[in-house]
């Protein structure tokens, strides 16, 4: 099964080290939550794992091979990435948008084939957006849009799926649906890494959580072991009762 490993990964943005010395070995078949307060470096960490920002120090290894030496196309086939707050620049149809997920698989000058169309269809079915196929993607509701973008990432059918806040702007039902989908992906042998803010959902669905604070990996393990009241007070600066934040810690 696929492995994605950060070794002493330090990432700098504009000269400032946003992620510092993160080491973690992630394996296929698991759903991993990336947690932490705003500005902890979660998005920067996942962007670096996708290969979008070269490390300032350390390495990212995909199946033991350095991502830095891997071609962009090979990396794109191996890792599907759903960015945070995805902006859509052209009013294309939902089907056309989801089909963008097949770009890494197309040989130069070739058209999308039957296998690609099937993958697009599967992704749309699973994200429950098949009925939206001919709608204009920029005219959807926030929730529909989020599911369409998730379908776009699923259409890559890559062994690794990295999603940055895929549940933002979803109602509770669709948040659950989103988590269930990622759970299914993991159960099918894929590695799913998701930046999450809902600690309850993370605790319930994730096999493992990575907690970042100030760019450092401060906790790594099963949610039940990691998400303790002490950690909540230290990292999120809130006091919790039964896992629910009730008061700020000053």
């Amino acid at each position: 099964m696929v492995t994605l490993e950060a070794r002493g990964l330090t990432v700098a943005l504009g000269g400032r080290e946003v992620v510092r010395g993160v080491s973690a070995r992630l394996e296929g078949g698991t759903l991993v939550g990336v947690l932490g307060p705003n500005g902890a470096g979660k998005s920067t960490l996942v962007r670096s794992l996708v290969g979008l920002i070269p490390p300032a120090a350390g390495r990212v290894l995909l199946d033991g091979a350095d991502m830095g030496t891997m071609g962009r196309a090979a990396a794109a086939r191996a890792i599907a990435y759903l960015p945070q707050g995805q902006v859509l620049h052209w009013p294309v149809s939902v089907e056309r948008l989801v089909a963008l997920g097949r770009l890494p698989h197309l040989a130069p000058l070739s058209r999308a084939g039957a296998a690609d169309r099937a993958a697009v269809g599967r992704a749309m079915e699973r994200a429950e957006v098949a009925h939206l196929g001919h709608r204009v993607a920029t005219e959807l509701s926030g929730g529909e849009r989020a599911r369409v973008l998730l379908a776009r990432a699923l259409a890559v059918e890559a062994p690794v799926l990295i999603a940055d806040e895929p549940l933002a702007s979803l109602d509770p039902e669709h948040q659950l649906h989103g988590m269930e989908l990622m759970r299914e992906e993991a159960d099918a042998g894929r590695l799913v890494l998701a930046v999450l803010h809902d600690l309850g959902l993370a605790a319930r669905f994730c096999d493992r959580v990575l907690v970042l604070d100030g760019g450092l990996l401060v906790a790594d393990g099963a949610p039940a072991d990691v998400l303790t009241p002490e950690l909540m007070a230290r990292v999120y600066r809130v006091r919790t009762e039964g896992g629910v934040p009730v008061e700020r810690v000053r």
Binding site: L52, R72, A75, A76, V92, L100, P104
Partner: protein, 332 residues
Amino acid sequence: MGPRTYSRRLWPALILATVAAALLSVAVGSTAIGPARVLAALAGHGDPVVRAIVVELRVPRALLGLMVGAMLGLSGAALQGYLRNPLAEPSVLGASNGAALGAVAALYFGLADAHPVVLPLLAIGGALASLLLLFALAGRSESALTLILAGIAVATLAGAGISLALNLSPNPFAAMEITSWLLGSLEDRSFAHVALALPPVLVGAALLAWDGRALDALTLGEDGAAALGVRLDRTRLRLLLGVGIGVGGAVAVSGAIGFVGLIVPHLVRPLTDRSPSALLWPSAVAGAALLSLADAAVRVIPTSSELKLGVVTAFLGVPVFLVHLLRERRLW
């Protein structure tokens, strides 16, 4: 999926329009020649004077109209896709004026006399320099406003440079030449001009047509495209060279003709699936048709001296800006 179902209706219409526009461009001119005599001249028969007018004046002019229009339409579509901005096009972004400045520098400082390729080379250099300046000014901003402001700055600077160069030159017709370069014209062109512009236009078009898929991926922004395997640095380089070489070569023979690259993608987009790649070749063909029609119009409209092409395309370009303005205001 998408593109093919649309293109079935789109392509016959585009090709028909382009052939009609090209025939019209050969049929009209300051000398009235009936269609039958034009056809006879094209076939190599009839009056030798008529034959000379049709074959040596009108045919190269029509060919240049098709070539320059296609290059401007394709550049507009590619720039809009790459910059994710429906107002991007070579003249709005200053590339056309930059190319015209290079051409003017070659002509009026005697450099063009050294060798025929100096003129298109300097025009290409001017277009590339203005694009580099544009990207330096606009940075990596995705804001439409930043880009348009940077484009206005570059275009104005290059336009002022053209006026300055022509004022400094000893040419007594400088004032008239300024308008030719800033508004564009295909008056009195020959097959030598066709031969000069064709290679850079072909190279530019090939570079721009390469990246359709990358432009589609950019619908998801730069991170989204990079995660789909797009090498953004290479795409940017091909786009820069494609627009620089293609528009530089076109402007070297026609002057800076505005708005073709703006109007054409807007007309074509609703007839496609609206993805940037589906727009590239249709915009090239539609650009060829539009500029041929505009060039026929300047010869038909009765004025004391022939109208400049940019005057006609500017009249057509304003409604596109108005549509955008109205859409923006509805949002407020």
